[in-house]
């Protein structure tokens, strides 16, 4: 927390939690939000930040990112990931536990938190494993994980293949009020598939994984959520069947939440063909058909899908610059998420308010995290975004170590110019100073 008093003036404040959308001044004092009002007198010694033409929003919260530390620091570290997050307007990221060793105990959780504290950048909330060692056999110690600082549980990267284990995980997690974030795919249906099974995979001669591989697991786990009363969160939802299932589950009042990634909202399987087998378009779940993308967009707009989460997955060139079949799954996304989702707003698929909500209040609510709103006396986690800023996506200039982005070389519009964590300005876009 810093002691500085900062006035963010002239910006359009969008705070869906408070229902605010209009020109306001945001005052930060002693690291907290002091005031959000239309007309505020600024004392001369206070620092002023000119936010005219820009949006001022609660710092974004990402429920799903892979920071690779401990064990795969060549791909990313907590520090580089936290820096990339800030560049994208995210003041908080949840770190997935598929590290080496996986985060199934307090020591790894504490390491992640220690690295985040050393970096002093975005907040990092560790996510613990559902099963010991991510093996899908035994439950990890949820109590210890929660006490050490985990905010949720996930075996992301793999599904929990055993329905019996999934049932027990949902039940046991209730004791610690932890949401369970699930990576849904039936491995036997996926087989050796490397992209979505459909016309494009047929044309490219690549083995495909059908959307049903995701849907059957979503349906299974919704039934288990109903059985156990647990908090089920579906990670990176990608197909119409899954959206339908979640919509129906919510209608029946079940505690099921869901997230979707910017790439599943913006890209489709055709883009793998158009890119010429570029592995920057290879991820799991894969990019799907036009109908699936439409369903995911509609699901986000109508609240079936609660929030946007990046599934930021950095890999090194060794893992990505190979034949499509052999390339690792995953793309980076923290630094491009806002621009990509803003394009959806311009296309009419999403409202501005819903976009901000899906990145702020909704993720906070879904995992029960602090932040996501510009509430009085709350720690001042704030992002200033320029929705008109045009920039060329050059991965060589990313803060993340990963260069695997499907938007490489694209012209994007929309970027974070400033990010505050606890009232401290921890990120500023070069050239954005006025």
């Amino acid at each position: 927390m810093s002691d500085e008093t900062i006035f963010i003036e002239g910006g359009r404040v969008i705070d869906p939690a408070a229902g605010t959308d209009g020109l306001r001044t945001v005052v930060i004092r002693a690291g907290r939000i002091a005031e959000v009002s239309e007309r505020v007198e600024r004392p001369r010694e206070a620092r002023a930040i000119d936010a005219r033409g820009r949006w001022v929003v609660p710092g974004f919260i990402d429920l799903h990112a892979h920071l690779r530390e401990p064990g795969q620091e060549y791909k990313e570290t907590v520090e580089t990931g936290a820096r990339a997050a800030l560049a994208g307007g995210f003041t908080a990221v949840c770190a997935m536990p598929n590290t080496l060793p996986p985060n199934d105990n307090a020591s790894v959780t504490e390491l992640v938190l220690a690295r985040a504290a050393e970096a002093g950048l975005a907040r990092v909330y560790p996510v613990g494993c559902i099963s010991k060692g991510l093996k899908g056999e035994e439950l990890a110690e949820y109590g210890e994980l929660k006490e050490a600082g985990c905010v949720a549980l996930s075996d992301d990267g793999r599904p929990v293949a055993s329905p019996a284990l999934m049932r027990r995980a949902l039940e046991y997690a209730r004791a610690f009020d932890l949401p369970v974030s699930v990576h849904e795919e039936d491995l036997s249906l996926v087989g050796k598939g490397v992209m979505h099974e459909g016309e494009t995979s047929t044309r490219l001669g690549l083995l495909g994984a059908p959307a049903a591989a995701e849907e059957v697991m979503v349906l299974r786990d919704i039934a288990l959520a109903e059985l156990t009363g647990g908090r089920l969160h579906i990670a990176h939802l990608s197909c119409q069947g899954s959206v339908r299932a979640v919509r129906e589950a919510k209608r029946r009042g079940l505690a099921v939440t869901a997230e979707a990634t910017p790439h599943h909202l913006a890209l489709r399987d055709e883009d793998v063909a158009r890119s010429g087998y570029d592995s920057s378009f290879k991820m799991n779940p894969p990019l799907r058909s036009a109908a699936d993308v439409l369903a995911v967009r509609e699901g986000l707009a109508d609240g079936t899908i609660d929030c946007i989460a990046t599934d930021h997955a950095p890999h090194s060139l060794v893992e990505k610059e190979v034949e499509f079949d052999l390339a690792a799954n995953g793309v980076v996304g923290l630094e491009t998420a806002f621009a990509v989702c803003l394009a959806l707003v311009r296309e009419g698929a999403l409202s501005e308010r819903r976009l901000v909500e899906a990145l702020t209040a909704a993720p906070a609510r879904t995992f029960g995290l602090p932040g996501g709103a510009l509430a009085k006396d709350a720690p001042a986690d704030v992002a200033i975004l320029d929705p008109a800023h045009e920039w060329r996506c050059d991965p060589a200039g990313f803060f993340t170590k990963g260069r695997n982005s499907p938007w490489k070389g694209a012209s994007l519009r929309g970027r974070c110019t400033h990010a505050f964590v606890g009232g401290r300005l921890v990120h500023e876009l070069r050239g954005a100073l006025r």
């Binding site: 050796k192 459909g198 016309e199 047929t202 001669g205 690549l206 610059e321 190979v322 034949e323 079949d325």
Partner: protein, 332 residues
Amino acid sequence: MIGRHRHLIGLEDLSREEILQILTLSTSMKEVLRRPLKKVPTLRGKAIVNLFFEASTRTRTSFETAAKILSADAVNWTAATSSVSKGETLLDTARNIEAMRPDVLVIRHPAGGAPGFIAARVACAVVSAGDGAHEHPSQGLLDLYTLAEHLTRVGGAPPQAPPDFDTLAGKTVTIVGDVTHSRVARSNLHGLTKLGAKVRVCGPPTMIPPGIEALGASVHYHLRPAVEGADAVMMLRIQHERIGDPLLPGTREYSKVWGLNERKVKEWLKPSCAILHPGPINRGVELSPEVADGPQSVILEQVENGVAVRMAILYLVSGGAPDQSTEGAARA
């Protein structure tokens, strides 16, 4: 160059005219194969490297023969399947070979997209000898050539007449077998539709990929309606070795339902219908021995034409410095 293409990665990328350019040239190349001295000095001093990441004697030998007839130096390089855990990546292998300055790289690889991946990163010309289930352009071309040759003969032309590639327009060709995993099927589908033929695919539902209709084929699960009235039937090899994904109960039932034997050929196929197979044949599974060796089979012609077609391909991609503008006719 093939039209505006420096590399030959697939038939999907080629226009009808570019395909005809290769086929017409193949006719002249076939004449060379029939000479007493089967050698011309055309590609003397050019180095053609066969970079095969998948075992294949016949395609590799065919390319090698084609190169040698054109007096090029042919070098074979067979790698264990590329895998990051085994050491050298595909990219490193290709770059190492390229450092030895070949003029043409002929690449066969189990991953779709691999030849294109290499072509974008090396300076020499790249010819795909098959990538995963994606394309096998030289096979597609030699099948088109063989079909045109057969149809020209059937159409009453004198035996010495060169194949007329317009004969493919309006004809029906049926492809039978594991279409999902077949690069031969895909290349043929692209080539045949570009030359105006109608394509039917036939096989068990587990072996017909989704969206194949969008590529121009009509789908049949039963063999008889698929082959009745067809001008040519192309049988694909059924691989027993697919572990973990049970597409068939076994080859016995496949052979009964989708295999061709003498009786089915006599009762269901037009007498003028040609029977093709890219090889190697599983005798008794896709084709009975009598059909494979029978009068309607053009399988051996396919092999001979394969050398001519590959000569044409190597000649075109080795042709010249791509940066220079086209010169006028040679000075006599």
